[in-house]
């Protein structure tokens, strides 16, 4: 692998686990066991690393978020669950770049380019969730009035955006599987009051999987 790519991967890993604010280019070079000069040869500083990482992120998540805008994820009622699986996909993608969300305001204040891009992504999140809810409405999977729907979409966007932050503050954990699964469950909890009985089965399955995950985690900790 090229040194340049390795720098990006190592930086992302360190930002995610140690936090962006406390990670310096020196730390990155140390972890990689390269000289700071070598790092500087590829990137002029942390700002350039972050803007490149964010560009990767915007391209990836942007592509994912346009999927439901282009065409409904569920063509028929039988495929409704695809919408819920899609939420996993989105959260998984966000999780890879979670350092942004852990320290959001701070990062957006310091990096102008990231701020604009993040605002664009936020709008896209909202539009994608609206497209999903609207398809569900058309397929009579949910029933809601239009004003409720807009409120629901905003609530979901809010939860989606700040989920990692909230989870970390509340539980202090950084575990992909549990965090993402609970995030999907939380988003579904918002839709649940509008769902028919048929779709509640999925919701209940989600709940029991979550419960088992928590049990497993408790057992791991006790060991």
């Amino acid at each position: 692998m090229k040194t340049r790519d390795r720098i990006l991967i190592t930086s992302l890993e360190l930002f995610n686990t140690e936090g962006e604010a406390t990670t310096t280019t020196l730390d990155i070079a140390n972890v990689m066991e390269i000289s700071p000069g070598n790092l500087y040869y590829h990137f002029k500083g942390k700002e350039q690393i972050i803007s490149e990482l964010f560009e990767q992120y915007e391209t990836a998540l942007g592509g994912t978020l346009t999927a439901p805008l282009e065409r409904p994820l569920s063509e028929s009622r039988g495929q409704v669950e695809d919408n819920w699986y899609y939420l996993y996909v989105v959260l998984e993608e966000m999780f890879q770049y979670r350092f942004l969300y852990y320290n959001l305001d701070n990062i957006l204040q310091r990096y102008e380019g990231v701020r604009k891009g993040f605002q664009r992504l936020l709008q896209l999140k909202r539009a994608a969730l609206y497209a999903i809810c609207q398809t569900l409405l058309e397929q009579s999977v949910i029933s809601a009035r239009e004003q409720q729907l807009v409120g629901l979409v905003d609530n979901m966007t809010l939860t989606l955006t700040f989920w990692f932050n909230y989870e970390k503050l509340l539980h202090g954990r950084d575990q992909q599987q549990v965090t993402i699964h609970q995030g999907v469950l939380q988003l579904l909890t918002m839709i649940a009051p509008y769902l028919g009985n048929e779709q509640l089965t999925f919701y209940r399955d989600c709940e029991s999987i979550y419960k088992r995950m928590l049990d497993d985690e408790t057992r791991r900790r006790q060991r």
Partner: protein, 160 residues
């Protein structure tokens, strides 16, 4: 009723389009540049939803192109959805209907055993039917197995 519903979804799809356009309006890089120019000119940049919609409309054609380019992304999204689905189904708890089907099977087996022990008792081959009847009441599943094995092993032996 259906008319109302159509009206509602029409309206919803219009709102969706507006939200989408607002997203596009905020998303288009050209809009960023326009904002920059406005800010320089001392004019407040458009923050209202309808302004974003307008900006989006102006960029709609460009955005449509971007969406088409997103078809590849769409393909990878579908692939990933499939992966998540498989993973989810593996973890999924046993469904209620699966359990119901099992219960029905057990009930049918119990009925068979009842009928068999009744006919055996009537033919006088088995002197004391209480052995096959007693465990069935306590534990249907265990009783089932014991009952059938008792029938096959004991029946022919006594006859010979």
């Amino acid at each position: 009723m259906t008319d109302d519903k159509n009206k509602m979804t029409d309206k919803a799809s219009e709102i969706a389009k507006h939200i989408w356009l607002a997203g596009v309006g905020a998303y288009g890089r050209a809009v960023d540049e326009a904002h920059g120019r406005l800010e320089k000119a001392g004019v407040e940049s458009p923050k209202l939803f309808r302004d974003l919609v307008k900006a989006g409309e102006a960029l709609e054609e460009e955005a449509q192109g971007a969406l088409q380019a997103g078809q590849q992304a769409r393909h990878s999204v579908e692939e990933r959805i499939n992966r998540v689905r498989d993973n989810f189904n593996l973890q999924r708890p046993v469904k209620g209907e699966d359990l119901l089907a099992l219960h029905e099977k057990i009930d049918r087996l119990n009925n068979k055993i009842d009928a068999l022990s009744a006919s055996l008792a009537a033919s006088g081959v088995v002197k004391t039917p209480r052995k096959s009847a007693a465990p069935r009441k306590k534990k249907p599943a265990a009783g089932t197995r014991r009952g059938t094995s008792a029938k096959t092993t004991r029946g022919p032996k006594r006859l010979s």
